[in-house]
């Protein structure tokens, strides 16, 4: 689904966010990208969403080389990808229903069809009863779920999320991750940037660890610390499940 080959991203100020990064995510995988802030997680997601373009290297998404997506074709490209943001990026002047319906309106889906899709998406995130409310009246966790409903309403094959649980407490974070898990179970590929390692290990998904713009070397990790971390996570997981 996603393949990066020797991707380097250098910003105009000379800072290199990614240095020759090569990785791949298979269809139907749920993968986490971890790393400290500044490790290049966000840049990776921004390259996939075509908010940025790589300085060198190839980014291939669903068989499509992003280099060949012209400026004019970016909107159509983005409509194939669901995106979830740490700060939700909702439109606060309109109710939940309209926020979730926005991708469908952009794609030109008929009214009745759109209403059905929106309700299905809201049902997925457990907000069916709140479709008439405005985002401000919702809690942060609920707002994030509105953001997720919007990302999945047009049924993308790929969903990318940048720190989706960054502002949420552990309970809400787990709830959000469970929602993601359910999408993954029906075949959606997910790439999630997060620094919440304990939570990720609970879910037992593959982890791509970035450090300083490149893949973290396995041997750099402290085996003991990793073992302890795993053990703790396993214990916690048993608690949850």
């Amino acid at each position: 689904m996603i393949r990066l080959e020797g991707v380097t991203k250098r910003f105009p100020n000379g800072q290199e966010a990614l240095k020759g990064l090569t990785l791949s995510v298979d269809d139907g995988e749920m993968v986490f990208v971890t790393g400290h802030s500044g490790a290049g997680k966000s840049t990776l997601l921004r390259l996939i969403a075509l908010i940025e373009r790589p300085t060198s290297g190839q980014v291939i998404v669903d068989g499509q080389n992003t280099r060949q997506v012209s400026r004019r074709k970016i909107p159509a490209y983005r409509r194939q990808i669901g995106m979830v943001f740490q700060d939700h990026k909702l439109l606060y002047d309109r109710p939940v229903f309209d926020n979730v319906a926005l991708p469908l309106i952009i794609a030109g889906v008929g009214h009745r069809d759109a209403a059905r899709k929106v309700r299905a998406a809201l049902d997925q995130v457990g907000l069916l009863t709140k479709e008439r409310q405005f985002p401000e009246t919702l809690s942060s966790g609920e707002q994030q779920r509105v953001g997720i409903a919007r990302a999945i309403v047009s049924r993308p094959k790929l969903l990318i999320a940048d720190e989706p649980t960054g502002n949420l407490d552990p309970d809400l974070s787990l709830e959000v991750m469970r929602i993601f898990r359910r999408f993954n179970e029906v075949g959606v590929t997910l790439l999630i940037a997060s620094h919440d390692i304990a939570l990720i290990d609970q879910l037992g998904c593959r982890r791509i660890a970035l450090e300083d713009g490149t893949l973290q070397q396995q041997e750099d990790e402290d085996p003991v610390a990793e073992y302890v971390e795993r053990f703790e996570a396993e214990k916690e997981r048993e608690q949850w499940l």
Partner: protein, 321 residues
């Protein structure tokens, strides 16, 4: 349960017929833009008022010229003909002819001016008195001053002119249209000046609307970024702003018509009184349908132009960060 719902929601998104969607999308954006304007009635009314006044000024001046032209057209029909008779016409023949012409339905009165009277008048008014004394004989012919009746139209005036010219006794028929022609030339010039002024005012409207839309775009920057982020095209993001410009122009055009109509209503009574003093039944002309439609159409066009320029200039720069 949850899984079943998930797969139902996963069914591919089907789009309805493209034309229907296109039309529906435009209608909803159009109404949406109006709704957004209604949320800030005072500020938006001010913008519309500025446009209306800017449109009403050239419209009112055009109306003034149109009325002046209609008055001068009527004056042209009230001009006297000077019929110069051939040199060997006798006074009796001339008086007889004056009687015949005076009986025509399209003629109000005929005044006979003999060659002697004409010479005397000429000596008095021309300042060539002394020089004219040296003339042998009178070079001036007898003249009939024919005043057409008020009921004449431009066509019947032309006909009368032709018939008077074709009389065997007639040497030359002259109509004193010079001042009317000068007046009409002045009106023509003024009309062009209004057109040029109107173009400048039109540019002002484009700037006003463009600036208002620019502020609107800046206020909605975040919304534009988010919609672009989830795959909106430039055209999609631009559309509500174009409709906002259209509403401004339409509102301004309609209000301009209202302002002009009110001005005419306010002037109607004094105009009737003034016309009454001249024994005239003159009534000021209002804007006709075509002119009204032109004003509204120009308003809409300028609104769209202003918003288009603003949107094209500022929309491209707003990209998700």
């Amino acid at each position: 349960m949850a899984l079943r719902q998930t797969s139902e929601a996963l069914a591919p998104v089907r789009a309805s017929s493209p034309l229907k969607i296109w039309a529906l999308r435009h209608v909803s954006t159009c109404i949406g833009a109006l709704g957004r304007l209604a949320k800030q009635p005072f500020a938006n009314f001010m913008t519309i008022l500025v446009i209306a006044v800017t449109l009403a000024v050239p419209a009112a001046m055009h109306l003034m010229i149109k009325n002046a032209q209609s008055i001068s057209g009527k004056l042209e029909n009230a001009l006297d003909f000077s019929v110069y008779l051939v040199a060997d016409t006798t006074i009796d023949e001339a008086k007889n002819l004056a009687n015949i012409i005076g009986q025509r339905a399209d003629v109000e009165s005929v005044v006979f001016v003999s060659a002697e009277e004409a010479l005397a008048q000429f000596k008095e008014h021309s300042g060539f008195g002394a020089a004219l004394d040296h003339l042998q004989g009178n070079p001036l012919p007898h003249t009939l001053v024919v005043r057409p009746s008020g009921a004449n139209t431009a066509q019947s005036m032309t006909l009368l002119n032709e018939e008077l010219s074709s009389l065997p006794e007639t040497d030359l028929v002259q109509v004193d249209t010079e001042w009317v022609q000068r007046f009409l030339a002045i009106l023509d010039m003024l009309q062009r000046a209004i057109l040029m002024g109107g173009i400048l005012l039109g540019v002002a409207i484009v700037v006003v609307i463009g600036n208002t839309i620019r502020l609107d775009i800046q206020n909605r920057r975040e919304e534009i970024e988010v919609t672009k982020l989830i795959g909106a095209t430039n055209a999609f993001v631009r559309r509500p702003f174009l409709y906002t410009g259209l509403w401004y122009g339409l509102g301004g055009g309609l209000l301009a018509l209202g302002l002009v109509a009110y001005g005419l209503y306010a002037l109607d009574e004094p105009i009737t009184r003034l016309a009454g003093l001249y024994n005239s039944s003159f009534r000021a002309l209002a804007l006709d349908l075509r002119e009204s439609l032109t004003i509204v159409g120009v308003g809409v066009l300028l609104g769209l132009t202003g918003s288009w320029i603003a949107a094209a200039r500022h929309m491209r720069r707003i990209e998700p960060r």
